[in-house]
């Protein structure tokens, strides 16, 4: 189950954070997102020896905590998407698919002429689209 999705800008400024749990550990989720930014920076600045991974947008599993898994995605414009999920058995292709749909929703939100680049995304349409994507994407693999 996807617990939290966040969009972080070029200077690590938060552009959009939404959590999908009823519990009020929103602060803990924010903290997890914040820590994952360091991992993203480290991944990008110290590339591993594997050549083909160097310039991909999908960064893969950033780090697993005791309950959550955190996935990262870095666009060409240095905007980072962070996904926190509680599913233990997640297929790579599913996460990529999710990020692709999320990227196009983000794109439409940014193309809004009333959106100021660098400020938080306040569009209700974007929030609805994200909720729909999260609902429709299911990570449960066949047991």
């Amino acid at each position: 189950m996807i617990v939290c999705i966040a969009v972080v800008g070029h200077q690590n400024n938060p552009l959009y954070i939404q959590s999908f749990t009823e519990a009020d550990d929103a602060l803990k989720l924010h903290h997890i997102v914040h820590c994952s930014l360091d991992v993203v920076d480290e991944r990008v600045n110290n590339p591993k020896k594997s050549g083909p991974m160097l310039n991909e947008t999908f960064l893969g599993l950033l780090y697993p905590t005791e309950n959550y898994k955190v996935y990262g995605y870095l666009t060409n414009t240095k905007v980072k998407f962070i996904l926190v999920t509680t599913d233990l058995d997640v297929r790579d292709a599913d996460v990529r698919n999710f990020f692709r749909r999320f990227h196009s929703a983000y794109l439409d939100a940014v193309s809004n002429p009333f959106h100021v680049p660098g400020k938080k995304i306040t569009s209700k349409t974007f929030a609805e689209r994200v909720t729909n994507i999260v609902k429709s994407v299911s990570f449960h693999t066949t047991g």
Partner: protein, 196 residues
């Protein structure tokens, strides 16, 4: 679903932007009008870059980003690519710096300047300059004046594309300054100076 806009609408809109900002909003303050138009271009460039880089892998260096602007970005906007790209971009190195003047000069050369030349800039291709100049005066003067007027008229129309290029590069993480040069219409050169 791809939505389309008629090109004459685009041309009319661009002409009207320049006309409104110069003749109505910021009358007698052409620098302010230019800056506002450039700022609009900046935001448009930012949004367009987000859209056009969606499926691409990240760029590894400045040259890749500039090539993206010259080929894909320009084709999306103007249906053609940049005709000529010149650069004095060099790999950064630290020479022995003896005097301050030498240091400043070397620093400037190392900053990286790119010149993008478009031989038939689409947004200026329908522009003509009024040749009705009074030739009753001394020989050389009127020609210089008419050239000056035409340069001034077309330069206002170039702030928007300059802003678009600057917005696109800044969004890709490359702060820069962009200026345009129209010594011979309809060809147009954009000079990009990358800030270190």
């Amino acid at each position: 679903m791809v939505r389309e806009v008629s090109e004459s609408c685009m041309d009319s809109l661009l002409t009207e932007i320049v006309s409104s900002y110069c003749n109505r909003f910021y009358v007698n303050k052409p620098e302010l009008a230019a800056r506002r138009i450039e700022a609009i271009g900046y935001q448009v460039g930012h949004q367009l870059t987000e859209r056009y880089t969606i499926e691409r892998p990240r760029f590894s260096d400045h040259l890749e980003a500039i090539k993206f602007i010259c080929k894909d970005f320009w084709s999306e906007l103007f249906k053609k690519q940049i005709d000529n790209l010149k650069t004095n971009h060099r790999v950064s190195f630290r020479p022995q710096i003896l005097q301050l003047e030498v240091a400043i000069q070397t620093f400037w050369l190392l900053q990286g300047t790119f010149v993008l030349q478009d031989n038939k800039f689409r947004w200026l291709s329908h522009m003509s300059v009024d040749p009705s100049v009074d030739i009753s005066g001394a020989g050389q003067e009127p020609f210089a004046m008419s050239e000056n007027k035409s340069a001034q008229a077309t330069s206002m129309h170039l702030y928007f594309p300059c802003g678009i290029i600057r917005g696109a590069l800044s969004t890709l993480g490359i702060p820069c300054a962009v200026s345009a040069d129209t010594s011979n219409l309809p060809a147009c050169s954009f000079v990009i100076r990358i800030k270190v």
